[in-house]
């Protein structure tokens, strides 16, 4: 049996990319602890619609923490207070009756607001386009065990490949740097033999694109690792730095 909680929400409203945004306050009293954070917002939207108001726009897709669509900044923390958890997997049992919750879009010049809490993350797509791929001859897939890979390398590549590209790292970074995202995408390929071939071009092109998109410098705050729903280590960033130097030296 769960009782209803009353939650005082304060969320960002912005009708278009160029419009001036503002905060709107609304209290909802039918929240129960089993709801995910996004389901709580669904309840909010139902109430808004019944009142004839515009629903609050926010990004989501899978709601099971694997797609990287949701990226709300909740009470000043990307994806909210829980370690290793995307906000779609954050449940209202982490809050108590009468709590005040402020919801903001991820703030970065490279992530312009489209509407309300939805931001344009195509900057990430362009970083991937710059080199986050392997060029292979198409055809039938090779037998998976045909290329031996050290377990360490396979594990590390897998850890980095867990990045879902949600942008929490950028949202939480005091400098709005995209170093963790970019480094995870560089390193998960470069550790594997298939990705090793284009290693040098990849690191240089992706680092360049990240800078061009207007993300800030890294200051080793490590906040990105703390908020990452996939808990990707900033060791990825150190990895990228080594890779970059190697690429420049080898020419």
């Amino acid at each position: 049996m769960s009782t209803n909680m009353t939650i005082h929400l304060r969320y960002w409203r912005q009708t278009s990319p160029t419009a001036r945004g503002y905060f709107e306050n609304r209290t909802i009293s039918t929240v129960n602890e089993h709801m995910s954070f996004l389901e709580m917002l669904d309840v909010l939207n139902e109430e808004l619609q019944l009142d004839g108001a515009e629903p609050l726009e926010f990004d989501y897709d899978c709601r099971e923490g694997i797609c990287g669509s949701c990226n709300l900044v909740i009470n000043g923390q990307a994806h909210g207070p829980k370690k290793g958890t995307a906000c779609c997997q954050l449940h209202m049992r982490n809050y108590s009756d009468g709590d005040h919750i402020t919801i903001e879009p991820p703030r970065a010049s490279a992530f312009p607001v489209i509407k309300d809490l939805v931001v344009d993350r195509s900057a990430f797509d362009r970083i991937i386009e710059a080199g986050g791929y392997v060029s292979v001859k198409t055809g039938s897939a090779q037998e998976a065990n045909a290329i031996p890979i050290q377990k360490n390398d396979a594990d590390q590549a897998f850890d980095y490949a867990a990045c879902i590209g949600c942008g929490a790292c950028v949202a939480a970074c005091p400098n709005a740097s995209a170093s963790l995202f970019t480094s995870a995408k560089i390193s998960h390929l470069s550790h594997l033999p298939q990705g090793n071939v284009e290693r040098s071009n990849r690191v240089v092109a992706m680092v360049e694109q990240m800078q061009e998109e207007g993300f800030g410098d890294c200051s080793n705050f490590g906040e990105c690792e703390a908020v990452c729903p996939k808990e990707i280590s900033i060791a990825a960033i150190a990895d990228t730095r080594r890779d970059y130097v190697r690429a420049v030296i080898q020419g």
Binding site: F23, V73, N75, G76, Q77, A78, P81, K83, T102, E104, R107, A108, S109, A110, A172, P174, N175, A176, S177, S179, S200, V204, V207, E208, M210, Q211, G214, F215, G216, D217, C218, S219, N220, F221, G222, E223, E225, A226, V227, S233, I234, A235, I237, A238, D239, T240, R241, R242, Y244, V245, A247, V248, Q250, G251
Partner: protein, 233 residues
């Protein structure tokens, strides 16, 4: 592949150079501290040390030029990173909170620009007052004339506001290094998931030992009125 100039302008290059110049400046601090302790060695040791440094001529100028370059490059990068962050997040958060845990956001890392700028201003005052400070010429035991910098140091640190000022600035350098000493090695890419804790621990120990070494001198001289038994006469 990018040219060296382009590589240095990239965000990775900027970070690397911040680390390299930072480590160079930390090494300089170690040498500086070793030199400072000549004040406790013998009555003449400190003045002979400074005189020997000055007699190096061209070598000293080269070392000074190198240090100036490191300081200016490090400052330029730091200021430019700070300005860049305002550009990269033109609209800020109403509420912002660190997640804690593995985050290294703390007073030290958040105040790098403030501690850094204070250190930069301090450097000008420091060099002005000690390198170019007015000193008496005295004769060494060998009959060589030398600047009595030792007396200048003692006179300075027996003045309460100078001693206090040094302790404050040295504390700010300690704060700067609490983030900087570890961060420099991460910037060079030598840290990984397994050794990060060790590097962090080492950096804290290094900072604390080094900076206590510096802070001891003005505190000791002030506390003993320049007449402490450690200072040889």
């Amino acid at each position: 592949m990018p040219t060296i100039i382009k590589a240095l302008q990239s965000q990775v290059g900027r970070k690397l150079m911040t680390g390299i110049t930072g480590i160079a400046l930390m090494l300089f601090l170690v040498v500086h501290l070793a030199g400072n302790y000549a004040i406790f060695a013998s009555a003449e040791a400190f003045n002979i040390y400074t005189k020997t440094l000055e007699s190096l001529g061209i070598l000293l100028y080269m070392a000074e030029a190198g240090l100036l370059f490191f300081v200016l490059y490090h400052s330029f990068l730091g200021i430019s990173i700070w300005l860049g962050k305002r550009k990269a997040r033109s609209a800020g958060y109403e509420v912002y909170k660190s997640r804690g845990g593995v985050s290294r956001q703390n007073l030290a890392s958040r105040s790098m620009i403030l501690s850094g700028l204070t250190i930069l201003i301090f450097l000008v005052v420091h060099i002005w007052s000690f390198k170019f400070g007015e000193t008496e010429m005295i004769m060494s035991a060998d009959g060589e004339p030398m600047r009595d910098l030792r007396q200048l140091v003692i006179d300075s640190f027996t003045t309460w506001y100078i001693a206090l000022g040094y302790v404050v600035v040295l504390s700010l350098i300690t704060l700067h290094l609490f983030h900087g000493a570890w961060s420099a090695f991460t910037s060079l890419g030598v840290t990984n998931k397994n050794n990060t804790q060790a590097f962090k621990f080492g950096a804290y120990i290094f900072t604390i030992v080094l900076m206590l070494g510096f802070i001891f001198i003005p505190v000791y001289i002030f506390a003993t009125g320049g007449m402490g038994s450690l200072i040889a006469y």
